[in-house]
Amino acid sequence: MYAFEIERPTSVADAVSALSADEAQPLGGGQTLIPTLKQRLAMPSKLVSLAGIEEMKYVRRDGDVLVIGGGTTHGRIAREAAEHFPGLAALAGKIGDPAVRNRGTIGGSIANNDPSACYPSAAMACGATIVTNSREIAADDYFQGMFTTALEEGEIVTEVRFPIPEKSAYMKFEQIASRFPLVGVFVAKFSDRVGVGVTGASNDGVFRWTEAEEALAGNFSADALSGVTAPPASDMIADLHGTAEYRAHLIPVMTRRGVAAAA
């Protein structure tokens, strides 16, 4: 690590103000940023920790919407969302290990937008709204490719609003080393539509598999996907752990399993 200053504001307003300094960088749960700093791969002059902002830590139901504060940990979401939105709770409960889940936050994950992060698939499938200190952004507009989002410099994810589906499931096929999703598919069935969010697979980051959504909207069963062509391999990530063809193959496999498991 290089030396840096750290501030621990206790309100969103103070955090935004602290982040206006040159080269200041927000620190959520630190599950990506701290290892990066330890390896001296980043050299921020100032970190603004969001961990002390109590007003960003909550899970509550607001009608048909589950509202989660940006500073809420995965572990807390796994516990407190279970009653309202079991698919999302299960997703949160399988991120990393207990140490990661007790530090890492949904806001940090959504802001980082790692192409293999789990939450973005749920946000896309559900049509979530990302709320920041200054505006509300639809998930479709928010995620803009690997590690790229609609966030402006100094903007903080304060809340994520998930419309609660009738049924949902997250199917994660793990990369064997990191256990991040090699391909993760979130399937969400609403009364009038179906959402399918795919993470881990594409060179363009998380995406909605719209052909599958359309096929499933009329017939929410694994069989409905039999005629649907998989997303093209040419768009997929290829690395040590999976070829583009393999990732493309896994998307319909995981989607079918998600549909079958949705509860």
Binding site: Y2, A3, Q39, R40, F173, I176, A177, S178, L182, L240, H241, G242, T243, Y246, H249, L250, V253
Partner: protein, 788 residues
């Protein structure tokens, strides 16, 4: 009733109290007053010419004591190689120099170019980033066959080739083997890769060098499996420090798996720098450094051919292997693909003709050396895979094909120069069939199929050579060291015992198992015996722990020393009891006169030895301390049969190991619990190699699997409950304990069992074109194989 103490008892591991309560004393826990810290500047290119290294800016940074580069080590020795292999043509292997810090060229990613010593670690790291190395990048040599085929790019320019040696074994068999294969009724051929692994002990390597100028005394604290070997290699060959001026201490060591056998540049650097600066110098490897500086394991590419007659008797075996040495020769690297691999190619079978060819190759990768099993897993994997493939091609039961060819009479001299003393391969196979419940496999397969999974069964039988081994033999084979072991048994005045052993425990449980042996021999409680190891200052010269040798060789030395103790103690007891020495019996911790009720307690005899008021001083010396060096007359040959059951998800290719059974013959067993733990750990590592672990380089020599994000270690949920049995025991005939060694068996026996099971699963699912999948059998690879 199982025994509750002594040989054969599952005594709880006493060392675990400190390991599990955070009170171990590891090398990084050692801080010497006034110590400075070193940060290495490592090459980020695989191959390049060093045009200049500008240290001026770094040297001027806060806290920096000195910046070292390769030129500071001119006149210092090369990191030595401990084994000389002679090639097919009688020529010695090519042995390039291995400087402490790179000089002239960098040869792998991670090769140290410079080292900054500073007051704090932070200052050392900051200054290391300011060292400006101007390196002209050269094309990298990565693929072994390409490295041998062309000399356009050389890892070492001065030796003119990338071929370290071309070894033939037994060279005189070559023509007969070729003829037998050309005339065989059936030949099964298999080309395979034994994947490169990173050992990844939990504790990374650490070195602390210190120097006491007044006495001209150097001390190195290091994470080593063999401190005496490090003292010898570093003192005699690198730094020119005589043994009596160099102490090497390897305190608690958090796992070795082979990668902590070798003498590393960082050890020599810290010792050298401490002398140069008159300050203690400490280096603690980061995990990232470990991936690119710890010696890697395996990395063989092999073609194997098995010839059979019309009755399915094995008639000949021929192999051609390319073995990766990496960029430099690590301490025992040349021996691994030759004498630890070629000599094992007979396996459990009476194949009469065997020829093994090994081409060892330099590449721009991290040096490769022994890793748990070292050569024997590579031999077993190819042999047991080709036998399995032959059974499938011939449509015969893989167990029956093995049984038909098993060696059944002992001692048995193989055509590859070793003589198995004992074994009973049918017995372990019978035991395996029982404990793995093979009779009900088809029921389990149907149950798996009902859940949409393909279930496969993989069988393996293995032999290994442990307890390395006779010094005169290994000397003929090229070892530059003896391979005896030593022990000093010091009986203290009140009867308690300290055993100073040349073996080194880094997880094996010596502190528990060794006292069981001594206590059994003397009839005293185990807790009266303490093991001292890991410090050249207070242990006799010993060769350390690797090759499953500690109990077979080090334990035998301890037995011999204890026998000397008993002999002397009987003389003292005879004097005290006023009886003839010949009539003295030792039982349950007391000496008695045969046929009488006269006896004297152990503690009275030991006290007499140190307070010799009533003592036969005219005949024997006071004191009760004996040393023995034990040099075995042969290797030991543990063997066994393993069984793996897997389920393959046909949609994704994911393999789950759902059952695993191991029936081993380790000869006599001192502590069954520790033995079972060793098998569990070895099987976990073998499953890791078979399904998960893959050290991968790209074509430019960049390490792709340089962290745990990309290098997959086995975790608890990758490993099923392992059924372990060691009741088949054919004791070793040539060591006093009748033990064979158990440390590596699990890692040797399991990879072929896993892959055989994966192939069986795919075949059962109708993928009959799939006859082999290289390790690791990742989901992607298995899925791709199914696609054809």
């Amino acid at each position: 009733m199982p025994k509750d103490h002594g040989i054969g008892a599952s005594s709880k591991r006493r060392e675990d109290v400190r390991f599990l309560t955070g009170t171990g004393n590891y090398t990084d826990d050692i801080n010497v007053y006034g110590q400075a810290y070193v940060a290495f500047v490592r090459s980020d290119v695989a191959h390049g010419r060093i045009k200049s290294v500008d240290t001026a800016e770094a040297a001027a940074m806060p806290g920096v004591l000195r910046v070292f580069t390769g030129s500071d080590f001119e006149g210092v020795g090369s990191i030595p190689c401990g084994w000389q292999v002679t090639d097919r043509h009688g020529e010695p292997m090519k042995e390039p120099a291995h400087p402490v810090l790179a000089h002239g060229k960098v040869r792998h990613v991670g090769d140290p170019i410079a080292a900054v010593v500073a007051e704090t670690l932070q200052e050392a790291r900051d200054a290391a980033e300011a060292v400006m190395a101007d390196i002209e990048e050269l094309p990298a040599v990565v693929d072994m066959k390409a490295a041998v085929a062309s000399s356009d790019t050389l890892v070492h320019d001065d030796i003119g080739t990338n071929l370290c040696y071309d070894w033939g074994f037994v060279e005189d068999n070559r023509e007969a083997v070729d003829k037998a294969i050309s005339e065989a009724a059936h030949v099964t051929t298999l080309e395979l890769v034994n994947n490169r692994l990173v050992a990844n002990p939990m504790e990374p390597r650490v070195a602390v060098g210190s120097y006491e100028a007044a006495g001209d005394m150097s001390t190195l604290y290091t994470t080593s499996q063999n401190p005496h070997v490090i003292r010898l290699l570093m003192g005699a060959f690198v730094l020119g420090i005589p043994e009596h001026k160099l102490r090497v201490v390897a305190p608690d060591v958090g796992g070795g798996f082979g990668t902590k056998i070798f003498h590393y540049a960082e050890e020599a650097f810290c010792t050298f720098a401490a002398r140069a600066l008159k300050r203690p110098v400490k280096w603690t490897s980061t995990r990232s450094e470990a991936f690119m500086s710890d010696a890697h394991g395996r990395d063989h590419v092999t073609k194997i051919e098995l010839a059979l007659d019309k009755d399915h008797n094995f008639t000949a075996l021929r192999t051609e292997t390319y073995a990766n040495m990496g960029a430099y020769l690590s301490t025992f690297a040349p021996s691994v693909p030759t004498w630890l691999h070629g000599t094992l190619m007979a396996g459990n079978y009476k194949t009469p003709l065997i020829y093994v060819n090994v081409k060892a190759v330099f590449t721009n990768t991290v040096p490769v050396d022994a890793y748990r099993g070292a050569g024997r897993p590579e031999a077993t994997f190819q042999l047991e895979r080709v036998v399995d493939k032959a059974a499938r091609e011939l449509g015969v039961d893989p167990i029956e094909l093995r049984r038909k060819n098993f060696i059944t009479e002992f001692p048995y001299a193989t055509p590859v120069a070793v003589e198995y003393d004992t074994g009973d391969y049918n017995a372990t196979m019978d035991k395996l069939i029982e404990i793995a419940d093979l009779a009900n496999f088809e029921t389990r397969r149907k149950e798996s199929e009902g859940r949409g999974k393909l279930r496969g069964l993989g069988i393996n039988s293995y032999i290994e050579a442990c307890g390395i081994a006779p010094s005169n033999l290994v000397g003929q084979l090229g070892a530059r060291a003896g391979l005896y072991e030593s022990a000093t048994v010091r009986v203290n005045a009140t009867g308690s015992i300290s055993v100073m052993t040349g073996s080194h425990s880094h997880g094996q449980g010596h502190e528990t198992a060794f006292p069981q042996v001594v206590a059994e021999m003397l009839g005293i409680p185990e807790d009266m015996v303490e093991i001292v190891h890991g410090d050249t200052a207070n242990t006799p010269m010993g060769m350390g722990t690797y090759g499953s040798r500690s109990l077979a060789v080090g334990g035998s030395a301890m037995v011999r020393a204890t026998e000397k103790i008993i002999n002397k103690a009987k003389k003292i007891a005879a004097h005290l009891l006023e009886a003839s020495e010949a009539d003295i019996e030792l039982k349950d911790g007391a000496f008695s006169v045969a046929g009488t009720d006269k006896s004297v307690a152990w503690g009275d005899v030991t006290l007499a030895a140190y307070v010799p008021h009533n003592y036969p001083l005219e005949d024997i010396e006071p004191g009760l301390e004996e040393t023995a060096f034990y040099d075995p007359s042969n290797f030991t040959y543990p063997s066994g049969a393993y069984c793996c059951e897997v389920e393959v998800d046909p949609d994704t290719g994911k393999v789950d190991v759902v059952a695993f059974a191991a029936a081993d013959d380790f000869g006599n067993v001192v502590n069954p619990m520790i033995v079972e733990g060793q098998v569990h750990g070895g099987v976990a590592q073998g499953i890791g190699q078979a399904l998960l672990e893959n050290c991968a380089y790209d074509e430019t020599g960049q390490l792709l699997s340089a962290s745990y994000m990309d290098y997959a270690m086995p975790r608890a949920d990758n490993v099923p409950m392992v059924t372990v049995d060691h009741s088949c025991q054919t004791p070793c005939t040539h060591n006093p304990l009748g033990v064979k060694g158990c440390g590596e068996a699990g890692a040797i026996g399991s990879p072929p069992a896993v892959i055989n099971a994966v192939i069986d699963a795919l075949q059962s699912g109708g993928h009959t074109h799939v006859t082999h999948i290289d390790m690791p059998a990742t989901p992607n690879r298995v899925w791709a194989a199914m696609q054809g």
